[in-house]
């Protein structure tokens, strides 16, 4: 019996993406929204690695692509956290609902 193939990994990636979508749509805190976006990015990363492993294992470009995605995710996390920290210091909370200055 062989191990799991491409489809099981893709299914896990799809499930993680769905969890991320639900988090982005439902959370009030900006930090939680950022964390949900991280879940979606990781789902994309898992899918990419699964494709590399089962479709083109001889070509390592996919891994480089994954490294860039992980780097951007870390940047997003750092910049987002900095922004949310600033928002929290100014307003006393980091809720997305309170970020509507342009509306006024």
């Amino acid at each position: 019996m062989s191990g799991p193939g491409l489809i099981p990994y893709l299914i896990v990636g799809a499930l993680l993406f769905g969890v991320g979508v639900a988090g982005v749509l439902s959370q009030r805190s900006g930090l939680m929204v950022l964390m949900s976006i991280e879940i979606m990015l990781n789902a994309a990363v898992l899918t990419l690695i699964a494709f590399w492993r089962f479709v083109g294992p001889a070509n390592y470009d996919a891994q480089v692509f994954v490294i860039i995605i992980v780097t951007i995710a870390a940047v997003e996390m750092a910049a987002g956290l900095g922004l949310m920290l600033l928002v929290f210091r100014q307003r006393g909370n980091a809720n997305v609902d309170s970020l509507k200055d342009l509306k006024q």
Binding site: A22, P57, V64
Partner: protein, 457 residues
Amino acid sequence: MNGIFEWIIFLSLSTIAVVTAAGMILTMSMYRAGLALMASFVALAGLFILLNADLLAAIQIMMNVGGMLVMVLFMVMMMIDPGGEMMWGMKRDMHMPGLAAFSMHMPRGKPPEEESTQEQPGTHQVNDWTCPMHPEVQQDHPGNCPKCGMTLMQAEAQQSVQETSNQSKVYTCPMHPEVREHQPGSCPKCGMTLVEAETEEPHQADTLKTYTCPMHPEVQQDQPGNCPKCGMTLRSTDDTSQSHATGEHAGMSMEQGAHTMSGMSMEQSGDGHRSHDMSMPIQASGESGHDMNISQHDMNMFGMTPRQYYQMMVDMAMSTSQLPWAIALGIASALLLIVLVVQTPWPLAAGGPTQDATNAVGELLLSRYMIGFEGAAFLILAGIAGAVLLGKRERTQLQLQMPSPEPQASDAGEQTYTCPMHPEVRESRPGNCPKCGMTLIPAEETVGSQHKHGGHS
């Protein structure tokens, strides 16, 4: 045998990755949410190893998990109730078992009316907060006026004075007391909304009130705001004592008429599992009777009116009231993706990776993708620069908000103009305040009028 072993590891890691990610959006504690996400990342790194991508697993651990660790530390430092102990205690006191004990969501439905205070003649809605300068601004919780930034005061204080004084109403400008009109409107000098001439007294009486936290009675302060311990909106002591006095009456009306508590009942399905939401739409009479009792018990326990209880739930909720829809959309998108990946005939390769991944990826990075990495480095630098600039702007704003000791421009012979509501705004020519839009007035006039009135802000 090797395949079965791989399947076991795969299923274990996949379950951990998905369940912890789902737990992240359901938990009531941001600290635990961060830890759950870290667990999900680690499980994903395990899956990467299973896919022969060791280098990426190491990067995943170092960058994502390390990043999340920093995020969790920040959460502990800056978030209200980061560990969720307060919410957990509330759920425990409410005897909420199962999944409901882990989550706190925005109550659905319209906020309940303050029925007990409306029915009594001579009293008014205690939760109406309005601006002394802009009576059209009304909201159900304390805060600052969105127009001029002044602290909102309770409408009750203003209205009680309106009832006790039977004199003919005279409207005056808070900044120009010589302006007296018989009709409400704007000040001809500065454009501010006119207020009744006697509204100074309730303002002073309002300052004598004390405000306390529904959850922490030891917190007492003389102005509205948020509790320093839990961040909830403070209630005036009059409010609290009134709610204690009318709690029994409110409870009776809840038992008699379920409609008065729509949005407050807690849904309970037939098999005894309570739903995640703290409050649900109105149920059938048989079930709702039990639920009403729970709500009533909870409110009596916290000494709250339905409105205050609702407001507390809104303050403490981690997610919006649309969580069920969000979950449904998430499931739908996941199912759609699964159908797509299963239906598509992927051209699978026969063998596995042939080269040493670390060397191969390193060579590729240096030879072909350096520009991509430089772009990522540029993004990092841009993020840092943006954070520094924003921090600098914040410091400048703080310096502006600090009161200046004395106006100094007059001795130079130049006239400066300032906003009656924002003395820190100084302009060399007339115009409108950049913060509230009011007409700027000469600086000396503001100082004089503030001395006359004793200052509002």
